[in-house]
Amino acid sequence: MKKWTRRAFIGAGILAGGTLVIGIAIRPGNRSSKVAGLIASEGETVMNVWLKIAPDNTVTAIIPHAEMGQGVHTALAMMLADEMDAAWSKVKFLEAPADKEYANFAVAKGFIAGNATFPKFIDETIDGVFLTAVKSLNFQITGGSASVRFTGQQAMRIAGAAAKSMLMQAAADTWKVPVEELTAKNSIISHPSSKRSATFAELAPAAAKVKIPTQPKLKSPEEFTLMGTSLPRFDIPAKVTGEAQFGMDVQVPGMKYATIKAAPVFGSKVKSVDTTVSPSQYGVKKILNLGDAVAIIAEGYWQAKTALDALPIEFETTENSGLNQEGIMDSYRKAMDVDLAEGNLDTHFKDGDAATALEQAAILVEAEYQLPFLAHATMEPMNCTAWVHDGKCELWCGSQNPLGVRAAAAELLEIDIDQVTVHNQLLGGGFGRRGETDVMKQAILIAKEVDHPVKLIWSREEDTQHDVYREATISRMKAGLDQSGLPIAYAHQFIFKHHPPEAADIPYSIPNQLIQYSSPASHVPWGNWRSVDHSTHGFLTESFIDEMAHAAKQDPFAFRKKLIKDKPRFQRVLDLVYEKSNWGTPLPANWGRGIAIAQSFGSIVAEVAEVEVTFEGKVKVHRVVCAVDPGFAIHPNGFIAQMESGIIYGLAAAMTGEITIENGAVAQGNFHNYPVTRMNEAPKIETHIINSGNPPGGAGEPSTPLIAPAVTNAIFDATGIRIRQLPISKNDLRASIRPTT
């Protein structure tokens, strides 16, 4: 990946009342074509930020990302405050409204200034900034583990540094001393030799008049005072008192509640339903046939749910109504066969001549893997409160993509986007699910039929059965090794390529590679599931490299290490996990260790799982050691929490996660048949961070892809059984158990 050119558009000025505001917009340039696809789809297009210095010397960072537990508000405010040398106790944050609104200067100014009027000069500077930003604005999303990597690096730090530079210059001009003699600390600029000092707020009026730097100098890591420390997160106190407000908790005066049942078979329609409200339907206000779903508005969720469960609804039978999981997987296999036979496989990567090298190989390794659909199962079921009135639409929801929600609402209602307001709330888990707009659109369709706000709440069953799923996949892998066990060819065919596009790449130096894919039609909607394609490819490539190591009769760690000789960052991560996991030391009978390593979202992660397979064939994961090079961990404790979170999320999927299709619809409905990891099943996790000095990598996703292969490789080590189909619970391991002596 080429480095993005830092292009900052900075504007500044003083509001009535003495608040200094600095606006900054960043547009990434020079994207490699590989990254461009990611950007286009993930919306990492424009990052902008405002900071305010109030007369009481508080600094407020305005952060364009949603909080879903990743600590983004704290981490980004830290990046800004550190560059600025602001006193942390006087730093606050505000989550910016949906970005286009935020970047629409009239509204943005209102947001920043409240009722204050902007002086003329600031209009020019700030409008100039945002005019540029608005023109290139796409949409703002929290995803792709991008907040710290892009917004933080490209906007927050620059905004902080620019502010400090202007304040220092103002002090130098006022005191008539060279700027080099000044120091900044705790929101105060000092001139030590003359013992003069002034607060940021005192200098703000003068700072607004100095020349605005276009490329302010950023600190080197040795100069960081906040970045790299684990400050208490802003969002935590309210989350232990019950005060934290999630989308589910919004209360709007006059609001009623609704719930919904969509056609169980994706793409099917309502054939018939009686929408007459009867007196026996306690608390029910309205029954709505939305075409592909039926919704009930009632006094409360329970009343709506009870009435909906009892309501006879007939759905249309479609061509998909007879489909089952096995049939879908067979159709994927067949599509791959046909594409292969007809030369229609799409090529992801080609190097050398894999076919010939495979023929010449001394040892051939071959395997077919299968992965299931997965639901997100966020802790907070989908919900959205909508109020459609007077040509306007107001929405309250927790979204990873609030601007996308605004655009979807405007399109659906055929109104101008300026007439749509999104009040973004805390997210009770996102994992990619809350980047979608489906539930918001339903809420709008329901709310536009009544003259009051409606909170639409999905049941857990609806949430499980109308998700956008992590794709199921079939993968066929072949590798050729020479006499010494050195790989000389690698061929991989898989189903579906989404993003990031590089997910199927392998870090290993193997000549003669051919990586191809098929994209058969499926009626099951897919979506971004924590780490997206890495969630499948991490398992596929790291399982298969283990198979290759076994075929080569080599230690899985040593085999990998040999093949990443030219990648020092990978080597360090692998060495660290080797050391911390006590790799190679003896374990009890029926225990095993498995290793896996991959780079995703800018961070390199290796995991070693220590696993026991019991006499009943049950898998118990006792310990996971995680080594990671994220370049630099801005908030180490938060980063470690993200590693732990990603591992447990991936572990739930690996152990028992499976959505299956029966008669065209999802068979699972709740946590009893879509089980997730609980405390008694959670391993001890140890995370070790390498601050390599590279640009910060992502935190939210990179640990997820590796836990499945680390565990299945450990099961192989314990039992000799190779798991090629997830979840692990589908595999019978009882026969493999060796009696202990």
């Binding site: 879903m68 537990g69 990743q70 684990s230 208490p232 997160r233 969002d235 935590i236 309210a238 989350k239 232990v240 008192t241 019950g242 005060e243 934290a244 999630f246 589910m248 509640y257 306690y282 608390g283 409360g300 969720y301 329970w302 009343q303 749910k305 009870t306 199962a377 966020t378 802790m379 907070e380 079921p381 805390l426 997210l427 009770g428 888990g429 994992f431 709440i457 049941s459 857990r460 404790n637 938060g638 929490a641 732990e644 979170s645 591992i647 447990i648 999320y649 572990l651 709740n670 946590f671 009893h672 997730v676 990891t677 609980r678 405390m679 008694n680 099943e681 959670a682 001890k684 996790i685």
Partner: protein, 158 residues
């Protein structure tokens, strides 16, 4: 209409048609700290106390709580400025991530420590495995319970 006592305060609520306590607490009493997660007592997000005993309010008929002391996450702090020892431990361990499950986790933990002020790892697992955390903060929840347990040993408040 029946009267319910939630966090020491009386509420007159409509408890007809077998409505679970969860929805009465959230929609009629306006206390939204108690969360809806699954509706079938699988996830623990809705945990509250009835006379000190933890229950899943999503499957507890509101009518069955009549005459009992209902405690929600909003009612466990000593006062506005003094959080419960478990809440304090949760902050000190920086336990929550998204935070949605944490009210239920905290209510299960408070009930556990009331019964057993110094639980072993296995006892913590047994008491807490009915509470799902999709952010996977189990290690931190366990550490926070141990921290709260240690504070209890050195505290005279409880």
């Amino acid at each position: 209409m029946i009267n319910l006592t939630v966090n020491g305060k009386e509420y007159t609520v409509d408890a007809s048609e077998g409505i679970p306590l969860l929805w009465v607490i959230r929609e009629q009493c306006g206390l939204t700290g108690t969360k809806f997660g699954c509706g079938i007592a699988q996830c623990g997000a809705c945990t509250v106390h009835l006379d000190g005993q933890p229950v899943r309010s999503c499957v507890t008929p509101a009518i069955s709580a009549e005459g009992k002391n209902i405690t929600t996450v909003e009612g466990i702090a000593l006062d506005k400025n003094t959080l419960h020892i478990v809440q304090q431990a949760w902050i000190e361990e920086q336990t929550p991530q998204c935070g949605y499950c944490q009210s239920g986790q905290i209510m299960s933990a408070v009930a556990l420590l009331n019964e057993n002020p110094s639980p072993s790892d296995e006892e913590i697992d047994a008491a807490m495995s009915g509470n799902i955390c999709r952010c996977g903060m189990y290690g931190r929840i366990k550490s926070a319970i141990k921290r709260a347990s240690a504070s209890l040993q050195s505290s005279t408040i409880f």
